[in-house]
């Protein structure tokens, strides 16, 4: 028997029916831990709503933003959340094209994370503009003087990039869910759930016609999502790089931002998946192999990001550009030295502990490292944005920015908003990709070992009619019916 360290799915998962049973378990009545987490998330959303209302009532003076620092926590957090989404698309689309079979059990979580992260990110430009009811100024339409938006502006590119990313990620997420929602429909016993799943599954029945077109459509969606994911954070980076602010005006920004985005995204996948595995007992599907692969991704992207940090300093020195050199020196020795060193330590040094197998294979250490990287990546965006603006050309202009309590509340609330949607997703939609996990299981063939095991699990027709199928029975029992 193969060991769990080199298998995609634990040998205890013996047949297709097991996958349905375990995936449906996620949809059953949640425990107190789940409810406590959901309650905490909703409370944080409430806090953010209060802070935002306060800002709307008393104006942008309630934030720490002022000349010369016009971009602060909101834009930092926007870039952070857009970046978080990237690992989801990497795992769901890019690894799909590379036929990396290990993505199967993990990609649905990562994809949901992408959709909710971009949904969270999208709030921040609206909060940042101060008068959110005028957000439609961002859209491409002519104003009263018949002037259209400036298509040469990276800010408008960003509007196109982020809205396209949100739309395509959501479509990709939903299309992948259809066969699994159909499985949930067939197993559901609660009438409203059955009805909801029937509508959401669009009448999917798993016919040869459906699969034929579905598999091609999924492949093309993945092929379209792959360049998209690389472009989105490139475009976000050009919000900075196209300007002439010292510390922003560099050509390495696009690959540097994309690598950073994937680093933060992979860290967030780990932050999510480790507790989900524990709470929902998914050890059979999220095996040490998955964590080993994630650790290697984290190591790779951390190395690229560390190289970019080094290159930034090298170029600041080698260019001989006075302002550039001064800004970079200020990042590690000025008023924001703590943020600068946190960024370098948390993203460029701490992940290298994963070279050690003992650290990599200990999920507690791995979880802590992922949280450290998340914090480090938020600091990275903060360090790029704020010190450059606070310390640009004229010494008399150099005024520090401090995050206000309103901004801190909205920042914390963004985590509540993200986790609220994620927890609701876990409760109502299949978190394990049922159909795709079955692709990596050996198909049931007559006379093989798999066949005999499979035969023990799929009940006879008579049993299906008179008794609920195993997954259904489990669902019913857990829902107290």
């Amino acid at each position: 028997m193969a060991s769990t360290s080199d298998t995609l799915v634990h040998p205890d998962v013996r047949g297709y029916a097991d996958v349905n049973r375990d995936a449906m378990r996620l949809l059953t009545r949640p425990g107190p831990g789940y409810l406590a987490l959901l309650g905490m998330s909703v409370s944080l959303v409430g806090l953010a709503a209060f802070c935002w209302m306060w800002q709307l009532a008393y104006g942008m003076g309630m934030s720490g933003l002022n000349n010369p620092v016009g971009w602060g926590t909101y834009i930092t957090t926007f870039v952070f959340w857009v970046g978080i989404g990237h690992a989801g698309t990497l795992i769901s689309a890019i690894l799909f094209l590379f036929r990396a079979a290990w993505r199967q059990s993990i990609y649905r979580f990562a994809e949901a994370m992408t959709v909710f992260a971009v949904l969270t990110a999208g709030l921040f430009p609206i909060i940042h503009i101060g008068r959110p009811w005028l957000f439609y100024y961002l859209l491409p339409y002519p104003n009263q003087r018949q002037i259209w938006p400036n298509f040469r502006s990276p800010l408008l590119w960003d509007v196109f990039a982020v809205t396209t990313y949100l739309t395509v990620s959501s479509v990709f997420f939903f299309i992948g869910l259809i066969p699994d929602i159909a499985a949930a429909r067939d197993a559901a016993v609660v009438p409203w759930r059955k009805k909801a799943y029937s509508v959401l599954s669009l009448g999917w029945r798993g016919t040869d016609r459906e699969w034929k077109h579905f598999t091609r459509a999924y492949l093309f969606l993945a092929a379209l999502a792959t360049p998209l994911v690389l472009s989105v954070h490139s475009v976000v980076s050009w919000d900075f790089a196209v300007s002439i602010v010292p510390g922003w005006h560099t050509t390495i920004f696009a690959p540097y931002f994309v690598a950073g985005a994937i680093l933060s995204g992979v860290a967030m996948v780990i932050t999510i998946v480790v507790p989900v595995r524990k709470i929902f007992h998914l050890e059979a599907y999220l095996t040490p192999m998955h964590f080993d692969r994630l650790a290697k991704l984290l190591l790779l992207t951390s190395t690229i990001v560390g190289y970019a940090y080094g290159m930034e300093y090298f170029m600041a020195w080698y260019s001989g550009e006075l302002y550039e050199r001064d800004v970079f020196l200020d990042r590690v020795s000025g008023d924001y030295w703590w943020a600068g060193w946190s960024m370098i330590t948390f993203n460029g040094i701490v992940p290298h502990l994963l070279w050690f197998r003992r650290v990599r294979e200990n999920l507690n250490y791995f979880f802590i490292i992922s949280i450290i990287v998340n914090i480090g990546m938020w600091y990275e965006r903060f360090v790029i944005i704020v010190p450059s603006l606070a310390h640009s050309y004229m010494p008399w202009q150099m005024v520090n920015y401090h995050m206000s309590w309103v901004e801190a509340g909205i920042l914390m609330g963004s985590f509540g908003w993200f986790f609220m949607w994620f927890l609701l997703f876990l409760r109502f939609l299949p978190g394990l990709s049922i159909a795709e996990i079955k692709e990596v299981l050996p198909p049931p063939m007559r006379g093989t070992r798999e066949t005999r095991l499979h035969a023990q699990q799929v009940p006879e027709r008579q049993e299906i009619v008179e008794q609920p199928a195993p997954a259904t029975a489990h669902l019913k029992r857990a829902q107290g019916e």
Partner: protein, 171 residues
């Protein structure tokens, strides 16, 4: 030719039995609808499936997006020629970003439309009999056949290893 709505459904726990039933039905000239919990190449081979036309939708959608992005950025810039940042009115390098994003957006949406049209989704009253175990672990082969020929299909299903055979009379 439209497939008959009546027919015989075989429920199979094994993939090789399923492909056997498909081949035998096809040899008899009986059109089939196959149900499976996951896509399998063995089934596609048994059905001798042709290439899906969804790719054409993707291609047309993507090119439409490129053209739309170019048209939007160029036309709106020419509509009120205002020089910004000392750049040309038609600044193609900058407009490439808009063209790229709309290529992906339109390509993805057209792919979904292609999927829905070709797979006939949404479809809440699908033709042929269905069994909830198909989304769990079983495979199904529905032979579209007139009631007077039910016995032929029933024999194929049973001999191929179907654990259960169900018939669908006129709807």
């Amino acid at each position: 030719m439209r497939k008959p709505k009546t027919g015989v459904l075989g429920v199979f726990p094994y993939l090789d039995d399923t492909t056997e039933a498909i081949r035998r039905c096809r040899q008899e000239g009986i059109p089939v609808t196959v149900y499976s919990p996951t896509p399998r190449h063995e089934i596609e081979e048994a059905l001798e499936a042709t290439e899906s036309p969804v790719r054409i939708f993707t291609l047309v959608g993507a090119f439409t997006g490129t053209a739309s992005g170019a048209a939007l950025a160029i036309w709106t810039s020419l509509d009120w020629p205002l020089i910004t940042g000392g750049k040309e009115i038609v600044s193609l390098p900058a407009f490439t970003v808009i063209m790229f994003e709309l290529t992906v957006l339109f390509g993805a949406l057209a792919t979904v439309i292609g999927l829905f049209i070709n797979a006939r989704l949404p479809q809440f009253f699908g033709e042929g009999k269905y069994h909830p175990s198909f989304s769990a672990g079983n495979f199904g082969v529905f032979a579209h056949i007139a009631p007077e020929k039910f016995e032929t299909a029933r024999t194929i299903m049973t001999e191929s290893g179907s654990e259960e055979v169900l018939v669908e009379h006129a709807q």
